[in-house]
């Protein structure tokens, strides 16, 4: 699971959960992979990203990547920043670990890079 995918996952399907976002990450095994850099793609992806959630994801998995606190407009043109975003969003794969619902603490295991978001009948609204 890449961080871009994490940025689009919520636990809002659990009964009683309002936002369920962002899911906290407990990463056990993280892999770095290489993905071709596409500036246009990253630029278009930026407005769709919940920046604060991405920052907390980065701190959750404890990688050495400092993201500026605020996503200012000038940054969105900054090549160095875009490359950093490319790396953070697309080149980190969480292979093993778990996602944790911020409201209920429900854990969703990640095995072989696949988050298991299945809920039992009694958990869904």
């Amino acid at each position: 699971m890449k961080l871009i995918t994490h940025n689009m996952l919520t636990s809002n399907i659990i009964k009683g959960v309002k936002n369920g976002f962002p899911l906290k990450i407990n990463a056990v095994k993280v892999e770095n992979i290489t993905v071709d850099y596409n500036r246009d793609f990253i630029t278009r992806m930026l407005p769709r990203i919940e920046y604060n959630a991405l920052r907390s994801a980065v701190s959750d998995i404890g990688i050495n990547e400092s993201l500026p606190e605020v996503l200012s407009e000038s940054l969105q043109e900054d090549d160095e920043f875009l490359k950093k975003m490319h790396k953070v969003l697309l080149e980190i794969e969480i292979e093993e670990g778990e996602l944790i619902c911020p409201e209920t603490g429900r854990k969703f295991p990640i095995r072989k890079g696949i988050p298991n978001m299945l809920l039992s009948e009694s958990e869904v609204s």
Partner: protein, 725 residues
């Protein structure tokens, strides 16, 4: 063979210009364009399945699309066709692929082969039907099958297993048996003669009828061979069925050539071809598995939500996990409708594939961000191997934000859900995650497989590509008006049955019922796995979708394909504002707003004319009429209007593109209106204009200077001018 589909024509194949030979051949009339298209199709499959790409330079590896075990082409026919161009080192026919590879000793041979054979048809398919090849050079071949002497997993070749005497004894069997002679025609399968002992082996279904044992059991002459195989531990159980096949020279079987007097033991899944030269006889011993005798108890239609969940668990989810690998091999051709749909999105669009399976649509475009979800972990693991982003979830609870995705696809998923309520939940869930204006393409299996007297691909075995194209062109596009109905079953085309037990659908026939079980044969275990299907009747999906109010466009593309495709676009969401003077319930009002074609326009200058408004709003679509908001007392424009369009779609465009734009140097505001009624054109403020102009304190040159009350200081003490907007 469907003879109509190929037109005989004379073609000239010249090796040198002086000596032209006319050959009358049966060739399909393919234009150059379709040849390229088909070749690309096969190369795409090659890249997806084996990660092999074409080479611009000559190589000794020749790729032959449409010539694979899957397309029932034999290795022998390939040798016959390709040997004349040069020495062949090996021919690879990977299992489960619709293509083969010819490895030439000399690079130049491939070049000549392409020139001569590309896009030509050969009568080498089932029953001599025509097969057209599409060819290219590739950089390499799949490594697993590089060694031609390797056999499929589970297959062991034991040379010289029988001696000359035993061979004579065994061959006598077929000479003395008169049945063989008589059954030449009745029993011929691809021109081979067969005789059965114990049970008759049914090639069509790959099984035997255990209730009909034959009088002839395995003859005594075979016992020594069986006994030896058993003693040596090659087989664990003694066989009770034997098929003896005779092949005339030049005939083809499913097996690779086995050296004389050798025994071949197959314990695992495997399918290979043979290079036959001489008259051959094969003996195939089988052990009929006994658990086939115990009759399977079939499930019944679910009566509660819990039943439904259980049925889907046992007859959908578990089965897909079991057949994942096998299934994945058969699912690699992308349906053009989906490819076309995905082609519409702009770079960077975010798309969710609900029920992504092996991810065959997830790399159609690499400039989109695609996420897939599926209920089968087995299929998702295949997606991960291909580096796709996926998560495990069912389609009724998808853990993603609301109003977010630009698009979604849900291909061949909703027919696995077993109650109408659950189907609607899934549809609502998919619409929920789309952003307003976002679109989803849904396909489900259709119950009616015959349309306008034309059989669909699914049941028409002989259908060929050309017919398919034809069907696509004549397919009719329909726009439908959402029927709003509160009850799911009322007026619904859903069938009800007296007997609730689900029955197994007979493949390649019309569906008898909407709810049925479809079998998947797993070759390896010779086991039939049943999957639950709900095939959709005419209008059924439309009826379901009609229950969702947030939908703008529905398009059903009815065509003679087995699937029913459906396109849905989500509406622009409503603002928080509601007209307090609306006569009717809040729900009724929202329903009206979601279907309305009328927009309310606010913050206009008093001096903006109807012509100016018309000009601006016509950009979104054809405007039916404009009603200017007037001051009740003076009957002059007072800063708002209604714009009515002919279609909801145009009105949505107006909402999407014109809201917040500038007109006469003012940022105008648009919102949905439930529809114009007489009297609404007048301002509701106490002095005749709009309420907001009563209380405004600033100076607005476009709206009559200062607010009315501010102007007439001292302020009126009366509090009756209640804010209504």
């Amino acid at each position: 063979m469907n003879a109509d589909s190929f037109i005989p024509r004379i073609s000239f194949h010249s090796s040198d210009e002086k000596n032209q030979t006319a050959i009358i051949s049966l060739e399909s009339l393919d234009s150059g364009q379709t040849i390229d298209k088909k070749l690309t199709e096969y190369l795409n499959i090659l890249e997806r399945m084996d990660g092999i790409t074409t080479s611009n330079e000559l190589t000794q590896f020749l790729f032959v699309g449409n010539a694979g075990i899957q397309t029932h082409v034999s290795k022998e026919s390939l040798i016959e066709i390709f040997q004349p161009f040069g020495q062949i080192i090996d021919i690879l026919m990977p299992i489960g692929r619709p293509y083969s590879f010819i490895i030439y000793e000399n690079k130049e041979s491939g070049k000549e082969a392409i020139e001569q054979c590309n896009a030509r048809s050969y009568p080498i398919g089932i029953n001599q039907s025509n097969v057209t090849f599409y060819m290219a050079y590739v950089s390499n071949v799949p490594s697993i099958s590089l060694n031609s002497t390797s056999y499929p997993k589970g297959l062991t070749l034991i040379e010289n297993f029988i001696d000359d005497n035993e061979e004579k004894e065994l061959l006598k069997l077929i000479e003395i048996d008169p049945v063989v002679q008589n059954e030449d025609h009745r029993n011929n399968r691809r021109h081979r003669r067969g005789i059965h002992y114990g049970y008759e082996f049914r090639y069509a279904t790959n099984d035997v009828d255990t209730s009909k044992p034959l009088k002839k059991t395995i003859p005594q002459e075979c016992q020594s061979v069986i006994h030896r195989a058993w003693i040596l531990g090659y087989i664990k159980e003694k066989p009770d069925q034997l098929t003896v096949n005779c092949y005339e020279p030049g005939q083809v079987s499913d097996f690779r050539i086995v050296p004389r007097n050798s025994d071949i033991i197959m314990t695992d899944e495997g399918q290979v071809t043979i290079v036959p030269r001489l008259y051959r006889v094969s003996f195939t011993f089988r052990k009929v598995s006994q658990h086939q005798n115990t009759r399977q108890v079939l499930p019944v239609l679910p009566k509660s939500d819990l039943d439904a969940a259980q049925l889907e668990q046992n007859y959908v989810h578990k089965i897909y996990d079991k057949i994942a690998d096998n299934f994945s091999h058969t699912r690699h051709s992308a349906w053009p409708g989906v490819v076309e749909f995905l082609g519409k999105f702009t770079t960077g669009s975010i798309i969710l594939d609900v029920g992504c399976g092996n991810g065959k649509y997830m790399n159609i475009r690499n400039d989109l961000f695609m996420i897939g979800c599926d209920r089968s972990i087995g299929l998702l693991q295949i997606c991960r191997q291909r580096n796709f982003q996926v998560f495990l979830s069912d389609c009724m609870n998808i853990p993603v934000p609301t109003n977010f995705f630009d698009g979604a696809i849900c291909i061949a998923v909703l027919h696995h859900i077993s109650t109408p309520e659950r189907r609607l939940i899934a549809l609502r869930e998919i619409v929920r995650l789309l952003r307003p204006g976002g679109e989803v393409l849904i396909t489900v299996w259709a119950k009616e497989q015959t349309l306008e007297d034309k059989k669909s691909f699914y049941i028409d075995n002989n259908a060929n590509r050309k017919n398919k194209c034809h069907h696509h062109k004549t397919s009719e596009k329909k726009s439908l008006v959402c029927p709003v109905n509160d009850s799911l079953t009322k007026d619904s085309p859903i069938e009800t049955y007296e007997d609730d037990t689900l029955s197994v659908h007979k493949s390649r026939t019309e569906f008898q019922r909407s709810d049925c079980l479809v079998s998947w044969t797993k070759v390896k275990e010779n086991q039939q796995l049943l999957r639950y299907y709900h095939v959709y009747g005419q209008g059924e999906l439309e009826h379901l979708i009609g229950h969702i109010v947030e939908i703008l466009v529905m398009m059903s593309v009815s065509s003679a394909v087995a699937a029913l495709p459906f396109l849905i676009q989500k509406s622009v969401s409503l603002s928080l504002y509601r007209d307090q003077q609306f006569k009717g319930s809040r729900t009724e009002q929202e329903k009206r707003l979601l279907q309305s074609t009328t927009l309310y326009i606010g913050n206009l200058s008093f001096f903006t004319t109807e012509e100016q408004i018309h000009e601006l709003f016509s950009r979104a679509g054809d405007v039916k009429r404009i009603i200017m908001g007037l001051d009740r007392a003076t009957k002059t424009p007072c800063g708002f209007c209604f714009v009515e369009y002919y279609t909801r779609k145009d009105a949505e465009n107006g909402m999407r593109y014109i809201n917040g734009t500038r007109l006469d140097d003012r940022i105008i505001r648009t919102d949905w209106d439930a529809g114009f009624v007489e009297g609404r054109q007048y301002g509701r403020g106490r002095s005749g204009g709009q309420v907001r102009d009563e209380f405004r304190k600033d100076y607005d040159p476009g709206r009559g200077g200062f607010g009315k009350r501010f102007q007439n200081l001292p302020m009126d003490d009366e509090k009756t001018g209640h804010l209504r907007e």
